[in-house]
Amino acid sequence: MAQTATSPINFKEAALELLPPGANFDACLTCGLCSSGCPASGLENMDPRKFIRMAMLGMDTELSTTPWVWCCTLCRRCEYVCPMKIDISRLVFLARGNWPKDSKPAGIARSCHLTQFGPSTSAMGMPPDDFVLVVDDVLQEVRATQPGFQHLQAPMDKRGAHFFVNQNSREPMSEPDEMVPLWKILDLVGADWTYSSKGWAAENFCMFTGDEEAWRDVIRKRVDAVNDLGCQVWLNTECGHSYYSMWEGVKRFGLEARFRIESLISYYAQWIREGKLPINSRWNTKGIKFTVQDPCMIVRKSYGDSIAEDMRFVVRTLVGEDNFADMHPNRSANYCCGGGGGFLQAGMTDHRRTYGKRKFDQIAATGASYVLTPCHNCHSQIDDIGHFYGGNYGVVHFWTLMCLSLGILGENERHYLGPDLRALID
């Protein structure tokens, strides 16, 4: 992967424009906190500090062509730990955008193309009719086969619903039964919600291509879809980048969103506190250990530590105080797993796994049997590095474990459970 067709960016000038005074490249102390805490350090012989220094030294051609920009997951941990609060990811994003379209990693570019030009905004290109059909099929099957759920709802295009619930394409496309636990939870708490046949998808790989225009197009379609249905909350499910791309995109592009943008995690916590979601840890009779991954996109990059606290409240309630072990560092200082920024789709498998080693070691140190990951990219990456490095842990979504706790997890919804968890419910 290399590119030559576009002219290099003047990174020093770009930094002056994009970054605030006092937190600009010229404020860098070269202390290296950014690099020592960056799992991408060393890949392609680069690291965040080198990126800044090369910019200051005018090495624009090198920075405009280094494939490292696709190894940086834009997680912004470098900025978080920087004493001067310098945001390097903005310039990495700029560099990505400057790559010629046909030189960008094909996986990311293709996903963006599908997201940008389909009415569903689905990175897997699933058309609205198929989505409606799959949802209905699955719903009918649950109603027919699962006692107590004869009246389960999965509303479509319901005007004036409180929640506009989005859906990562992976579920309707590849593992449709994974949608069901969430429907059951929404049903249980009495949520007034709807799917939309348009702009329903969550993922946004256009953000990862560095193409602002494409990113804006996608967000605009989704904003229009929510506005059209008159919903009050765009509720993002257990997915990281889709939340951030919407939350940041609406601000960045000045779009008129007549609704709030929220993450399901904070609602899980709220519903538990309100007594609507009566989960507990009594099911965990074997003391199975869990840890949790803080998705960069919803913790460090948007909500901050508040959602990390909500998440821990949910986890502790769900698995038991004694059965929860945090990774270190955690919350806003957590390491990206290496699945973010489009890395999973970038076709740089060796680099991605090297990046993920730090996360693997963090997980191994907790001794946990399961990692709860409220993010699809985290889920895939942590699963992959677990297999690759010979780990002995499983990866589960919150919704799966919640329904397990509630005794309502259907037969087909247990794909991510290991034998230890299955043994508890069989």
């Binding site: 102390l29 070269t30 080198k50 220094r53 090495m59």
Partner: protein, 540 residues
């Protein structure tokens, strides 16, 4: 690559005794002039030993703007100097392009500057045959967006920036390659042995090891710059009459302009900004001083420079400055009442015949831009005295592009490092991105010393180590550690080198630090004193 010493022992009759060196010409003073004389003589086939009590460019040569004058600066005060500058700068641009960045220069007048001077300027340039093109204010500000909106006049000239360290290193290296001429740093002259009107030997000592060294030479050249008068006194000569003018400069963290920017007025304080690589240098001041010791910048000088500079470029008022430093200009006595700015920037070559010596000369005064010419005049005299009839060739032989000066250019090391893409080649100085391979190469050619005596300062002089925003805070530690790892340093001397390096960088920083940089200073102090306890290290 063979070492300097082995080259000399194979091709020259130097003494095997390490305490005695024999050569044809001893040159005292490793500024650009001294190194220029060395190269010039070597090109005529004459073997030299060059000594400096510190290291290359430790005086005015390393403490100026790095401005290769088009000559326009001197058109109103010294027509001869202006013409010399024009000729020499044109020559150097052809012969040593690797040391020069052809930035071009602007002379800019702002509201309130003398309009009569501005009107006269093109005619003054014409008299010296110096190219000078008038620009509209809009054109000038398009070229340099940082220029003040109070600009009233602008001219473009052929100023450039030059790296004196690269020049000196390349001169020394070329002389070494031609005939094994030797450069020794930290070698201080103690006294001359004079017999029958002739200097027979120079008794020196190594300021690090205190080892004594006797240098026997047929001719001795005093190229001591500001110290030339002291050196002449050691030879019993009283005819070198210098006055000392301290000049202070600031190093700006950023390169603010593409061009050299001069104030369009007779030479004064804070009126030149010279971009060099990734930084800019702003200065200077001129203050008469009596002694050469303890010369340093003052807060008042720094304030003055920034105030004056920001009249041309307002952003200078709030810019980040990396360091400030002062050096002494040696000025030839005799200018009298008109002040040191008007004192001759020309140079003097003294043969000291009137002082009863036949093999001693002094070359002093002058300026960076004219160093080659000064060196040639001195070399003409020395070669003639040695009976060597070869003409000097420095006006036609290009300075070879070699390894010696390659690491002084900002951005050179990281570009090469990046292109090679060797992950095992660790970056030691992260600010300027100097990899271990560059340090290896520098340490492999020590300035007449063994590698274990190569200080961090000496490495810094030959590279960009310590020149970036951290001012050595981190790389001082990393380079030292590396040299310990590689076995170059074995005892506490390495720690002392590290401390001396931090001391030197701190001197430059302490007067320009405020705001965010103060935090950086605290961090450095915590590292150097709190963690390493370098402040408790025994002196020597």
């Amino acid at each position: 690559m063979t070492s300097a010493m082995s080259t000399i022992s194979s091709s020259h009759p130097a003494s095997a005794d390490a305490s005695t060196l024999e050569t044809e010409v001893l040159i005292i003073g490793g500024g650009v002039t001294g190194t220029g004389v060395m190269r010039d003589l070597a090109l005529r086939g004459i073997h030299c030993v060059l000594i400096d009590k510190v290291d290359l460019c430790a005086g005015a040569s390393g403490g100026n703007h790095g401005l290769l004058h088009s000559g326009a600066r001197y058109v109103s005060t010294d027509l001869d100097a202006a013409i010399e500058c024009r000729k020499e700068s044109e020559l150097l641009k052809h012969l040593a392009p690797q040391c020069i960045e052809a930035t071009g220069g602007l002379f800019v007048g702002v509201d309130g500057d003398d309009p009569a001077f501005a009107e006269r300027f093109p005619e003054l340039c014409r008299r010296a045959a110096i190219g000078c093109e008038e620009l509209t204010v809009a054109e000038a500000r398009r070229l340099e967006p940082h220029l003040s909106d109070r600009l009233v006049k602008a001219y473009r000239v052929a100023d450039a920036s030059v790296d004196p360290f690269h020049l000196a290193l390349a001169n020394v290296d070329h002389a070494r390659l031609i005939n094994g001429s030797i450069y020794r740093s930290h070698t201080e002259l103690v006294h001359f042995e004079v017999i029958d009107g002739e200097i027979r030997s120079a008794h020196c000592r190594d300021r690090r090891t205190h080892a004594k060294l006797v240098i026997r030479a047929r001719q001795v050249v005093n190229a001591g710059g500001a110290w030339a008068m002291d050196i002449a006194h050691l030879a019993g000569c009283t005819d070198v009459d210098l006055v000392y003018a301290k000049g202070t400069l600031l190093v700006n963290h950023d390169r603010m302009t593409r061009h050299v920017v001069n104030r369009l007025r007779p030479p004064g304080d804070g009126d030149i900004l010279v971009p060099g690589g990734t930084v800019s240098l702003l200065g200077t001041t001129s203050t008469r001083i009596e002694h050469l010791d303890h010369v340093g910048p003052t807060v008042d000088e720094i304030d003055l420079i920034i105030r004056e500079g920001s009249a041309m470029i307002p952003a200078l008022a709030g810019a980040r400055y990396t360091r400030a430093f002062s050096r002494v200009r040696p000025l030839l006595q005799g200018a009298g009442h008109a002040g040191d700015r008007a004192a001759s920037r020309g140079f003097a070559l003294m043969d000291h015949r009137s002082q009863g010596l036949t093999n001693f000369c002094t070359i002093t005064g002058g300026k960076l831009t004219t160093f080659r010419l000064m060196a040639e005049k001195a070399a003409d005299l020395v070669a003639g005295r040695l009976g060597n009839r070869q003409a000097g060739t420095t006006a036609s032989v290009a300075l070879p592009i070699g390894d010696a000066g390659r690491w002084t250019e900002p951005g050179a090391a990281p570009r090469q490092w990046y292109a090679l893409g060797n992950p095992a080649d660790m970056i030691l100085c992260e600010c300027e991105m100097v990899p271990q391979s560059a340090v290896d190469q520098i340490v492999a050619v020590p300035p007449g010393e063994a590698p274990q005596q190569m200080s961090i300062e000496a490495i810094s002089l030959r590279s960009r180590v310590g020149k970036g925003p951290c001012q050595g805070s981190f790389c001082g530690i990393r380079v030292s550690s590396y040299l310990y790892d590689r076995g170059y340093y074995r005892d506490a001397a390495g720690l002392a080198y590290m401390r001396d390096f931090f001391d030197e960088r701190f001197k430059g920083q302490r007067l320009v630090v405020w705001g965010q940089q103060a935090a950086q200073m605290e961090l450095a102090e915590a590292l150097h004193c709190g963690l390493f306890g370098l402040d408790a290290l025994q002196a020597d």
